[in-house]
Symmetry: C2
Subunit: 201 residues, 2 copies
């Protein structure tokens, strides 16, 4: 019985925060990370040039195109995508390092990326963030004010398509008020640490 | 899309708190119910006589033996057991009433009862409360001081047997410090409300 009472988990969980374009994934993740320090954010790699103020290993890992392609070849990304002329991806070793330290690793990612992650890491905790209503999503997308009407319509159409993937996720959190969404996300993270199926028995 | 964004759940979840004899289920449940009012406790029925200070529908529903047996016949119990010469059980209609009001229903129950509930209500949230160590369990059992050594040994053996059912549960919570156990239980309850599989899509 002594053995079966040792419930220390030696590895963290991979927590995927995803959801339609414009829902506010970044805001919720930043608020969570500010409040709780036992969760670490996964850092993406990219081939685009660092902008002024960006620091290697903080905003991104900046890789050459050659290195990035080699790492794709070695299957060293949890997911990756080519956007315009640049590559973006989640380096697997960085995620593994966080998890092996016993910390949960938070991955903020779009729906297409999340589906790639799910195929490779099905034991991840997949959380879908949704807007409280379609009207609110329209408002959030249009309020950015940096896009043309055609671009906004495209983004809204994309968000609608992304919503259709909800059922492939484990949890759904309505991002109505940021702090409420953060507390629900926190509850999901704490609850998952208590899952019997995640113990080393 | 509008429809798929309506995530109001119209029914609560059944939360089963169980665990080996002596682990402190009652203490944790009482502390949870005192702090959070969106969870209601299931009340058991019994054929034993009400003791002084006990009130119908508060500590128990007091049924005659005849009524209890009729209700067993009608499958109106979520689980029931005969202990010495009395019957104890969980009336299904009471649980259903709580859930239909949209409240979660907390069921504090021993391991044998929990296994009966799981057979009838597999979508329940099954939480196993465990002591931090075997030594602590021995201490909690012996500290009651009301039992003979043989009785205590029997209770300890029973607790060990009950621990073997851990893997049939969804979650495990170590009852080291009551408030920590309560917060983990709370996180499990809040997280389960966000489960995609529990939505009416």
């Amino acid at each position: 019985m002594v053995k079966s009472m040792l419930f220390q988990k030696d590895k963290g969980n991979l927590i995927i925060i995803s959801g339609p374009s414009g829902v506010g994934k970044g805001t919720v993740c930043r608020a969570l990370l500010e409040k709780y320090d036992d969760v670490a954010l996964s850092i993406s790699a990219t081939t685009r040039k660092a902008r002024i103020g960006e620091k290697e290993g903080r905003e991104y890992f900046f890789y050459t195109r050659e290195k990035f392609l080699q790492l794709i070849e070695k299957k060293a990304f949890l997911e990756w995508a080519e956007v315009f002329d640049n590559y973006y991806g989640t380096p697997l070793p960085y995620v593994q390092k966080i998890l092996q330290q016993g910390q949960d690793c938070l991955l903020e990612i779009d729906v297409q990326g999340a589906l790639q992650v799910k195929a490779k890491w099905p034991t991840g905790v997949f959380v879908f963030l949704v807007p409280p209503s379609r009207e609110e999503l329209v408002r959030r997308i249009t309020c950015r004010g940096t896009e043309t009407i055609t671009e906004m319509q495209k983004r809204l159409k994309q968000a609608e398509d992304e919503m259709a993937h909800l059922q492939e996720y484990d949890y759904v959190v309505v991002n109505d008020f940021v702090q409420q969404a953060v507390e629900k996300l926190r509850a999901i993270i704490v609850g998952e640490r208590c899952r019997v199926s995640r113990l080393n028995l």
